[in-house]
């Protein structure tokens, strides 16, 4: 955790380092934050937003020096600071009894499946069939199956894979909302 305070001057220096104008630097800042959150999430962090903010705060504290001396794309600097922040988060620190978080309750499969069934009804029939057919569990024949499915739809296998991905992400979002709503 950073102890020094982030002043408006430091923040402005950061934005001016990131873009030719404060406005463009602001856009870049938001974009970097969003990406950091997503990257930390993909690394399995429980609190990706906190780690993203911690990374940004640490970089902001050095903004005046960076603006004057740093050469190259600022993204590299963010990436290296983010790496330190992430590595630190892997070492559990001592926490007081009051701060002990609730244990993570892994949802039961059947419960998730109930939610999945509800969410599947939100898809059109052909979308539902497509996503379920695509995930059929048949080991090596799967590649062949995906190729045939793509052919029938007049798509490349990569385009089909992306279409399925979009459907799956929507479905997953719906199921997680259902699980989290039901858990409250």
């Amino acid at each position: 955790m950073t102890d020094r305070e982030i002043t408006p001057e430091l923040f402005e220096a950061l934005l001016n380092w990131l873009g030719p104008t404060t406005e463009e630097g602001g856009k870049k800042y938001e974009d970097i934050r969003n990406r950091l959150v997503r990257i930390f999430l993909k690394k399995g962090c429980s609190d990706p937003e906190y780690l993203a903010d911690e990374t940004l705060n640490r970089v902001t504290l050095n903004a005046l020096e960076l603006k004057e001396t740093y050469e190259g794309n600022p993204l590299w600097y963010f990436i290296s600071v983010a790496r330190y922040v992430w590595m630190e988060s892997l070492h559990p620190k001592e926490i007081s009894f009051e701060e002990v978080p609730d244990p993570v309750i892994q949802p039961e499969v059947n419960f998730a499946q109930e939610c999945l069934r509800q969410c599947l009804t939100l898809l059109a029939a052909e979308q539902r069939d497509l996503v379920l057919d695509y995930h059929v569990n048949i080991k090596k024949a799967k590649i062949d199956l995906h190729r045939k499915m793509a052919e029938e739809l007049g798509l490349t296998t990569n385009a089909l894979r992306l279409r399925i991905h979009r459907l799956r992400m929507g479905l997953e979002k719906c199921v997680l909302a259902c699980l989290n709503g039901a858990a409250k």
Binding site: E30, K43, M149
Partner: protein, 327 residues
């Protein structure tokens, strides 16, 4: 707009798999992250590779060494555990479905009706097909589903002042100077856009263009919203909600650019909406708002007229506040 796509090679896929498992060197990991920062399609690929890994884990098809790495690196967080729960549920659903629905296969060119087993299978398929057709009739359209997703994307704060048809009430949020406005739930937003664009492609009707325009308006892409509303109005000029939403887009354009000409155009659409339906709440709300913006003395009367048709909803509370504090 959906992101532009770049080609992702098999080598990229393998590298992303190694990245997720924590097998890359510090330098290689940095390079992957640099690309994740600048290439949206690479991020999509990362998510696809991650899903494939989790699917393999759920089906217990992952080598022991990778299994341990995945557990240590990815599956520690609640979010990732829920992804795993989703993967397991999907797998279970696919398994159950495989018991009753045959695997998809390319159409055969040889005559098959002489095979009695296939005749029975065909009978079952026809029966299932009829049931599915009936079920389809009861299903919501892409536009309706997209609107559900759009309302989810908007959440509890709206980024514009005007009232848009089909969007639930959400508190109007004041934007900060440098802020890039975005709807609260990005994935729900993308999902609604996917459904609306699909509907536009399939039907090219007023309702589809109108829905896509609502999404753009809700996220403050006013020019894009206006473009879609124009397309919808060309197909159906007598829809009062569509007229009102076009008025809302012009109202917002007037506010964001400071050009009063937009307000005048907006009023024309709102008046037309009210000719078609004199008690349309969206149009009454937006007309009062525009008078208020123009500091027109008719604003008070306009808010009162709105409150005559709606005195109880959260929109009415906002109208009352505006009447008391801003006119």
């Amino acid at each position: 707009m959906l992101p532009r796509r770049f080609a992702v090679s098999t080598e990229d896929k393998n590298r992303l798999r190694q990245y997720l498992l924590g097998e890359l060197s510090e330098t290689d990991e940095g390079e992957v992250e640099f690309r994740l920062f600048s290439d949206e399609s690479y991020f999509d690929e990362l998510e696809m590779v991650e899903n494939e890994l989790i699917d393999e884990y759920a089906r217990e098809r992952i080598p022991a060494e990778e299994r341990a790495k995945l557990e240590q690196r990815l599956l520690r967080s609640k979010q990732q555990q829920q992804k795993l729960a989703f993967a397991r549920a999907l797998d279970a659903e696919v398994e159950e479905r495989a018991k009753v629905v045959p695997l998809p296969a390319p159409k055969s060119k040889s005559p098959v009706w002489f095979n009695p087993q296939l005749k029975i299978a065909a009978g079952v398929i026809i029966a299932v097909g009829l049931a599915v057709a009936l079920w389809l009739l009861l299903q919501k359209s892409d536009v309706e589903k997209g609107m559900i997703a759009l309302n989810q994307a908007q959440g509890n704060e709206r980024l514009i002042q005007s009232r848009v048809s089909g969007l639930n009430y959400a508190q109007n949020r004041t934007l900060r100077g440098n802020e890039i406005p975005a709807l609260q739930d990005r994935q729900a937003r993308d999902y609604s856009e996917l459904l609306f664009q699909q509907s536009v492609r399939d039907k090219q009707d007023a309702a589809s263009y109108h829905a896509l325009g609502r999404l753009y308006l809700a996220e403050r892409s006013f020019d894009k919203a206006r473009e879609q509303f124009e397309k919808a109005l060309a197909k159906d000029p007598n829809d009062p909600q569509l007229q009102s939403d076009m008025g809302a887009a012009l109202l917002e354009l007037g506010q964001s650019t400071g050009e009063s000409e937009y307000f005048a155009q907006s009023l024309q659409y709102l008046d037309r909406a009210l000719q078609l339906n004199p008690s349309l709440p969206e149009a009454l709300f937006n007309r009062a708002l525009i008078y208020q913006q123009m500091k027109n003395p008719q604003a008070k009367d306009a808010w009162r007229k709105y409150l005559q048709v709606d005195s109880t909803s959260p929109w009415a509370k906002e109208a009352e506040r505006n009447l008391k504090e801003k006119t």
